[in-house]
Symmetry: C2
Subunit: 141 residues, 2 copies
């Protein structure tokens, strides 16, 4: 089993997140990066290339920028009837780090994906309020 | 009141997200973009520049990549005792779009920031499962 991680966005968000992942995890990190609409290549062709050498034993984890966006939508059309292909929309850095750091010796379970999503949601934090809470705790002591 | 929106990350994620925001919202979108550690300028100096012309009547909304990261941490040290300065960690595109599209004619409330955060959390979606739910609904009909 090989794991393929695809990071896809409108414009260059995907390239930025990939570069930041490599900043933390090293230049050797293998990713497929899709920055849609920055050149004249239709997104449909780009996605077809992703699955050109599709192997049903391999695992594909696709992270996209926006649930409502066309990039995500075009992937939706291409994942039906493919096992081990996971599509997650609305990525942030926490999510991408967790996915890229997940052990590669076995398939990632749906349960584990949901855990990672739940954790990455919690990492969107209104820091002023979280600091205020810490401050209150300290005053109690 | 002027609203200043600052998008900050390790490496180039912030530049990518800014470019994607401009893809959706137009090249005229005003943002301060901080891509830490891509040059030799210390992050402390970059953040000092952000607040160089600090005006207590202005509003500052700072989006960072990672709660646990040094970029966010360095902002934490610089927001104490500043009114109308909001720091949000763990940004994704939904969050950044909502913040940049918020009406600029009045201060953004803490309540509104929490609403936007809650919505952007929900936009991190395991698409396979959401499709499965849609599929079941359709079968019911």
């Amino acid at each position: 089993m090989n794991r393929h991680i695809i990071i896809a966005s409108h414009s260059t968000l995907a390239a930025g997140i990939a570069e930041t992942l490599r900043f933390f995890e090293g230049e050797g990190l293998k990713l497929t990066v899709i920055t849609a609409y920055v050149d004249n290549k239709p997104i449909e062709d780009t996605i077809r290339d992703v699955f050109k050498d599709y192997n049903e034993d391999d695992e594909y984890i696709i992270l996209t920028d926006l649930m409502a966006g066309s990039v995500n939508q075009k992937f939706v059309e291409n994942i039906f009837n493919k096992e081990h292909v996971h599509l997650i929309a609305g990525m942030n850095l926490s999510l991408a780090m967790a996915i890229t750091m997940e052990p590669k010796d076995s398939y990632i379970s749906e349960k584990r994906i949901n855990e990672i999503i739940e954790e990455s949601r919690k990492q969107i934090i209104y820091v002023n309020e979280s600091l205020a809470i810490v401050g209150e705790d300290e005053e109690d002591e």
